[in-house]
């Protein structure tokens, strides 16, 4: 057929006929409240034309606690759906044909458990397990570095991931056991080069390990390489981001070919899904986020060669609270317009032959390769994690970014420039925010109780013993986990059994030795105030920075810790996931001049209340002032002030030194009555 007449701007199929690409998978990251509500939500989304499921789990499920654990209670159903047992999965997927679904689960430390539940569900429904399709995120590296829902130390964590690959390649060939996520690295401050390097080093670490374990044949290994998929972030600098995606594609092809000798080009494809950047979404003038999301979506769809396989877009109001169904629908519509109204899918790659793009891609590749080599020389990804190397690189990048926003070098419209604007009608009515009904947790707890009552305790005991036995003797834990699922073991019980064998982990915080890249009059001024205080009190102002609860988004806390030290404070920051009691205990023993809490999970009311109670117990309530930072809706401010909070910082307080000034005001004020001690 007319090969000689082929036009360079037309896309042809295998037979040489003009064609058009199929759109990517549209996803909405969703799940909240309880299994009944989430089921309703999924069915609604599917009926509106969504083609895959992306399940958000609540923090207790992600951290391996059942809903009735004290740490879990304030978080039930807040940022995702709570899953306690197989009974919950039956309700969650009620009326949804799992054999036809492509189900993506954002779950990590407890991935094996959730996959076991999904397999058990298929078994009880009589669905062929090999038909199951989807992804468990299961990337522990970015949990240690950015997201915080790790449980076990690196060694057993990597073991769990490897075992899932070894199991799936035999039993669930269409399942992606893990998904290397550079997404969260960018949220934690990673530059494009760092995103490339750390996620590829992560993938190398995983594949090297699977190879080293020697449990799969060479042919299976090649297939495993083909199953490695990525979850990438797309930021606002969309040309560079597009180049980053092209660099990813090329680097992955090179690595899989050279390092692993994968012959089948299909298995060397860089397959990736995208959630566009949330870090850059602003609380101020939130309607502008709609444009940001659109532009960011372009970065990962424009270049055919580096186009994403699946896309999920945040909602315009994500910096304010959890999105409502309408907000999610609006984001989905954007994808539909892009894929179906525009001519985007009709062309071959429109950047091929651009020397600008080529040169930029090469630069990113070269720098990323250098960084990858550095990590490999260090001993690989695990060493780079355990020594805190990567974490401190990320905190450094984030400090640089914050410093640049503070100095105006990076412009954020509506935040540090063009800040005056008319109020947005989008926020009228219910204020544009969504809140989980606190009563809904009751239903989850009742269901859990019911499951525990109805199950066979002997079977539960045996299943857990078998699991522990396998954990000790190094056997693959997948079959034992499925046994547990079928026996109605709970999420907390499964995780506790493994905690007993593997122990729990606390990674480096990465803030040691960090500083801001700001040296201006404001900095000098506050340092002088600190010196005055020090002369007066005999010690530098001491701040305890605490992240209570299960939420692991630690950027805010880290930046405050770095900024406080930069201003001359003595800083106590012990990392994430501490109980309110532990944080208050630090503040008491250290005789803190102020206690700063960072809370992003939406559980600020419950957590602050617990902190205040604990302070009262130690007779320190009136002496240690408390400030709170995080995603906190305006309407909760008064309640927090009533509890005794002195000041609330939200994402619109982006200027670190100004935050420190306000903190210093509060310290000075509270010291007025205390002359001696």
């Amino acid at each position: 057929m007319g090969n000689k007449e082929r036009k360079r701007h037309v896309l042809y199929d295998e037979n040489g006929n003009p064609t058009k690409d199929k759109p990517w998978i549209f996803r909405t990251y969703a799940g909240h409240t309880n299994v009944w509500e989430s089921n309703k939500l999924y069915r609604g989304n599917l009926s509106r034309g969504q083609t895959g499921l992306s399940i958000a789990f609540d923090l207790p499920t992600q951290c391996g606690y059942s809903s009735d654990h004290p740490l879990a209670r304030p978080e039930i159903g807040k940022v995702g759906v709570p899953i306690n047992s197989l009974d919950d999965f039956h309700i969650l997927f009620d009326g949804i044909p799992i054999e036809e679904m492509n189900t993506s689960m954002t779950i990590n430390a407890t991935s094996m458990w959730l996959l076991a539940l999904y397999i058990a569900l298929a078994k009880e429904r009589g669905v062929e397990v090999s038909k199951l399709q989807g992804t468990t995120q299961n990337d522990i590296v970015k949990e240690y570095l950015a997201r915080g829902t790790y449980i076990f130390p690196p060694e057993p964590s990597f073991r769990l991931i490897s075992e899932m690959y070894e199991y799936c390649i035999v039993h669930l060939p269409k399942w992606n056991p893990s998904n290397i996520s550079s997404y969260h690295l960018q949220e934690a401050g990673a530059t494009p080069v760092q995103e490339l390097a750390y996620s590829l080093a992560n993938a190398i670490g995983l594949l090297d390990l699977i190879k080293e374990r020697g449990k799969v044949s060479e042919e299976q290994f090649e297939m495993i390489v083909g199953r490695i998929s990525f979850f990438v972030n797309a930021g606002i600098r969309f040309i560079e981001e597009m180049c980053k995606m092209r660099a990813f594609v090329e680097l992955w092809d090179e690595i899989t070919l050279k390092r692993y000798n994968v012959k089948n080009p299909k298995y060397r494809l860089f397959r990736y899904g995208v959630q566009v950047n949330s870090l850059g979404l602003t609380e101020k003038q939130p309607e502008n986020n709609a444009w940001r999301i659109l532009i960011e979506a372009l970065g990962v769809t424009l270049s055919r060669k580096a186009r994403c396989r699946a896309l999920q877009l945040p909602a315009w109001n994500e910096a304010l609270s959890l999105p409502r169904p309408w907000d999610q629908q609006w984001s989905l519509r954007l994808q539909q317009i892009l894929a179906y109204e525009t001519d985007l899918l009709e062309y071959p790659d429109i950047f091929d032959g651009s020397y600008v793009i080529e040169s930029k891609v090469n630069e990113l590749k070269e720098e990323a390769q250098k960084e990858i080599q550095k990590i490999l020389d260090m001993g690989g990804i695990r060493v780079a994690l355990e020594t805190g190397y990567i974490k401190s690189q990320l905190v450094r990048s984030m400090s640089e970014r914050m410093s640049k926003i503070n100095s105006g070098e990076i412009i954020v419209v509506g935040v540090n420039k063009w800040t005056d604007g008319l109020p947005s009608p989008l926020q009228a009515g219910d204020g544009g925010i969504f809140k989980v009904d606190p009563e809904s947790a009751k239903r989850t707890l009742e269901a859990l109780e019911k499951t525990k009552k109805n199950r066979n305790p002997k079977k539960v005991r045996e299943a857990l013993e078998y699991l522990k036995e396998c954990a000790r003797n190094g056997e693959n834990l997948m079959p034992a986990s499925i046994e547990c699922a079928l026996a109605r073991v709970t999420t907390g019980e499964w995780a506790d059994a493994l905690r007993e064998i593997f122990g729990e982990y606390r990674p480096p915080t990465g803030i040691e030795g960090q500083r801001l890249f700001l040296e201006d009059a404001k900095v000098t001024n506050i340092r002088n105030r600190v010196e005055d205080f020090t002369k007066q009190k005999g010690h530098r102002p001491r701040i305890v920075v605490g992240k209570p609860g299960l939420d692991g988004h630690s950027n805010g806390a880290e930046m405050i810790a770095v900024a406080a030290r930069h201003c001359g404070f003595d800083v106590i920051y012990s990392g994430i996931r501490l109980t309110p009691q532990e944080i208050v205990h630090s503040a008491i023993e250290e005789h803190a001049d102020i206690l700063g809490l960072s809370i992003m999970s939406g559980s600020h009311l419950e957590l602050v209340e617990q902190v205040m109670e604990e302070l009262k117990k130690h007779h320190a309530f009136s002496e240690i002032p408390v400030v709170v930072g995080g995603i906190i809706p305006q309407k909760d401010f008064d309640k927090l002030y009533e509890m005794g909070v002195k000041r609330i910082f939200t994402p619109s307080d982006y200027h670190l030194i100004e935050i420190m000034e306000k903190i210093m005001d509060i310290i000075e004020e509270s010291q007025k009555e205390k002359v001696l001690i």
Binding site: R506, T509, I511, E512, R515, R527, V530, E531, T534, K537, G538, H539, R540, R542, A561, A564, R565, H566, C567, G568, F569, D570, V571, I572, Y573, S574, G575, Q581, E582, H585, S586, I588, E589, E590, H591, H618, H619, A620, E623, E673, V675, L676, I677
Partner: protein
Amino acid sequence: MPTETKDQILDLVDRTLSGHKFSIAKLISLFENTKPELIEIKNQIIDYLKQKSSHRGFFVGITGTPGVGKSTLTGKLALKVLEVSSESKVAILAIDPSSEISGGALLGDRTRVRLPIYEERIYFRSQANDRELGGLSKHTFSVSRVLFYLFDWIFIETVGIGQSEIEIQHIADTILLVLQPLTGDQIQFMKAGIMEIPNAFVINKWDQEKEAKKTYYTLKSTLSFVRPEMEKLPIFRVSAQKGLGLEEVLEYLIEEKSKKTNFRLEEKEAYYFEKWVRTQYGLKGLEILKNFGGASLFIKETGSFDLALQKFSKIEYVIQYP
């Protein structure tokens, strides 16, 4: 002038004696403050503590370079102390380095030592060195004066920057130098300074490293070069993380504690008094002190460490120095 009355302060001290943590925290802060107008009240507090308290602390210095696992070891030893003597009260004072630029510090040792929070017999406090050389803070001694009367065991963990970390010898009753498996070269390098002060060595991470044995023998042979009598010093092999070998270290510490006869602070006070005079008034100050017969005598004659500080400040006023 202080607004709190003497009674209020002594109330606070009473609460510290009954183990109230926030009161202990405040008392420590008070002793970190070197303002002259506080000398009087500090003197009264110490007097009061001397009468009321039955505790007299034994000071254990834990030193060694960063990353060798000082914090983990300290935490584990503290818990072990409680295991063998449940009546004991233990304090940990951990010193961290301050930034040369801003003066601020990240007090991170708390992160590495996870202690049961409802354990009332253990108290953990961080201190920034505030750019002070020598491995301790300016206020470490001052604070240790109250800890002495509130606790039976006081572990002081030094900054861990390196060879010049020798200040601890003037406070600690016994010093452990913590090492991790490393090459012989590094031990050679450490010969001076820090290698001369410990009473015992602890090689940590003994379980993991192939280098550990080599380290042990290199250390043994190096010690004889530093000072021949050091060859006899105990070398403990532990894994703090896994809790291995800690019993032996504790046994040693308990024995050292039982050997101690003089549970008083006089000698340490004399050293720190002289140091204070030197910092405040330089060589001229030292000369004046010498004319009074030296620090020990001066403190004895004025009645207490605090009163001596007060009196010496007035001498300075009389001679209008500088």
